[in-house]
Amino acid sequence: MAITLNTPRAERKTVTDHAVRLDGVSKSFGRPGTGQVVLDTIDLTVAPGEFVTLLGASGCGKSTLLNLVAGLDEPSAGTIDVPGGRPALMFQEHALFPWLTAGKNIELALKLRGLPRSERRQEAERLLELVRLKGTHGKRVHELSGGMRQRVALARALAQKSRLLLMDEPFAALDAITRDVLHEELTRVWEETGLSVLFVTHNVREAVRLAQRVVLLSSRPGRVVREWDVDIPQPRRIEDAHVSALSVEITDQLRKEIRRHGQH
């Protein structure tokens, strides 16, 4: 691991040319030939330090794609290259272990990463501070609000010190105010750490609000339909006119994709 979380962004660029690369990745469940094709020859590259959102309606295989990249499942065809090792993954539910405190959840991730015991406590405190949850180390998961839990989950994901962070609709279950704040928070953490992020969502505005690049997937089977570079400078707000304008364009395309399914 030549790269640490604290290295400034500029120095990171040249190590590899991609944080993850998918070449012709397909995934079908059931028997070959008769089974359902969920993902169809996906080509996708996320550059180091890049923030990419994957957008699509239900059944586009977004979550399946993340599972493949996370190594929780094997593709039926094609190759996936993740040069930084096992990626971190955040789920829609916080997935924190309720038998551990917030801090101990992070320390478990540190332990599994191989960090010596003596350094874990301090590193966990540092990560909690990074997501602005100083002083919650000893709190039980159920004592935290939904937004705080997702921030602990983010800190736990960062504790893996992976260069690639996968996020599977992590804010979908939160209320709008909290979600808005966490968008800012995630943008800030991403800028501070220089992680590559592959963020899955079905919320078009969220995708545009966060990403440098939005990738639209079709449904059944999931294919890459189109990509948009988002040139709006950060900090953005979800209400910004530029964000809205691009969201309308992408939504139109998404609706066109969805309509195709009603026509046979």
């Binding site: 962004r9 929780l72 599994l112 602005r132 949850l133 159920h142």
Partner: protein, 314 residues
């Protein structure tokens, strides 16, 4: 809070190509305030713990009233002479029997003989039932092979094992322990199987993404996640141990074995001493309740409360 954050945190954006100028850090301060406000709003205010006196009033008074009612009805039935007093003795007669055994110094001995048997039988059942349950939970072949048998054994009354056990082991402690184990092991094994089956798959996936595989995954994810189900299994396992022990003690007695509560009751029956029989039943009930109240319930509450699965006042 926010202002100290701004000065102590290293300013990561400064000097980076895409970092915004000063205005950004100012926004970060606002965001920190906003977040602190949201966190404060969304975190439920800590409910105050009720005082010990209030807790005692709420927990101890209702059962006391219930017991008093039962005793009153019993005493009235006795005074009305519904049945002759050698068939239905009054509460005071039973109390006198207990007092006599206490003064003779034999009461604690009877209790100790049974409790020590019950506890050591239960301990052996835990040692055998836990790995058995883990094997059933983890390996589909093992589950298919013996899962239904273990579940079925649970519904077999353990007293049904007594005649067979006597033929195998004679009138010995071996018989008593065999009956306890046949009653408690399936229950504990089933408890851990249920505990493992109820683990939300999300925890296992999260564990795998964090890099927990094999034994590490069992130790750090599966076992702690299965703990509530396991404790419920242990609790039930104790109930089965205690019941099986009483069944065995009622039938298996010889001078060499010493007198437990079951044997005590059988002795009173042969003497036609109904107060003694009722006193024995009372003792068996009280020991069962005491072990649950002093050991299993606090343990279960602690685990569930730690996970937010139990209200603070419950």
């Amino acid at each position: 809070m926010a202002s100290t954050d701004r000065t102590t945190e290293p300013s990561p954006n400064a000097g980076t190509p895409d970092g915004a100028p000063r205005g950004r850090t100012r926004e970060n301060g606002d965001l920190a305030d906003l977040e602190a406000g949201l966190d404060a709003l969304e975190t439920a205010p800590r409910t105050e713990r009720p005082s010990i006196g209030r807790l005692l009033l709420a927990k101890a008074v209702p059962p006391l009233i219930a017991v008093t009612l039962v005793l009153t009805v019993w005493q009235l039935a006795y005074m009305a002479e519904l049945k002759p007093d050698y068939v239905l003795p009054g509460p005071l007669d039973v109390w006198a029997t207990l007092e006599r055994m206490w003064l003779q110094g034999t009461l604690l001995e009877y209790i100790w003989v049974s409790v020590s048997r019950g506890v050591s039988g239960f301990a052996i059942a835990v040692v055998l039932g836990t790995p058995l349950g883990l094997l059933i939970a983890r390996f589909t072949v093992v589950r298919a092979a013996i899962g239904p048998i273990v579940t079925g054994l649970q519904s077999l009354p353990s007293i049904a094992w007594v005649p067979a056990a006597i033929i195998w082991f004679g009138l010995s402690n071996g018989t008593i322990y065999a009956v306890i184990l046949l009653g408690a092991v399936p229950s504990i094994a089933n408890g851990i199987v249920a505990g493992v089956d109820q683990i939300p798959p999300l925890y296992l996936r999260a564990g795998r993404t964090l890099g927990a595989r094999g034994l590490t995954a069992i130790r750090h994810v599966m076992l702690p996640a299965a703990l509530p189900g396991y404790i419920a299994g242990l609790k039930q396992g104790w109930a089965f141990s205690w019941r099986s022990l009483m069944a065995a003690e009622l039938i298996v007695h010889s001078p060499a074995l010493g007198t437990g509560l079951g044997q005590l009751m059988e002795n009173f029956r042969t003497l036609q001493d109904m107060s003694g029989v009722l006193a024995s039943i009372l003792l068996i009930l009280l020991v069962g309740i005491a072990i649950d109240l002093l050991f299993f319930s606090p343990l279960e509450r602690r685990v569930l409360r730690g996970r937010g699965l139990l209200g603070r006042t419950a």
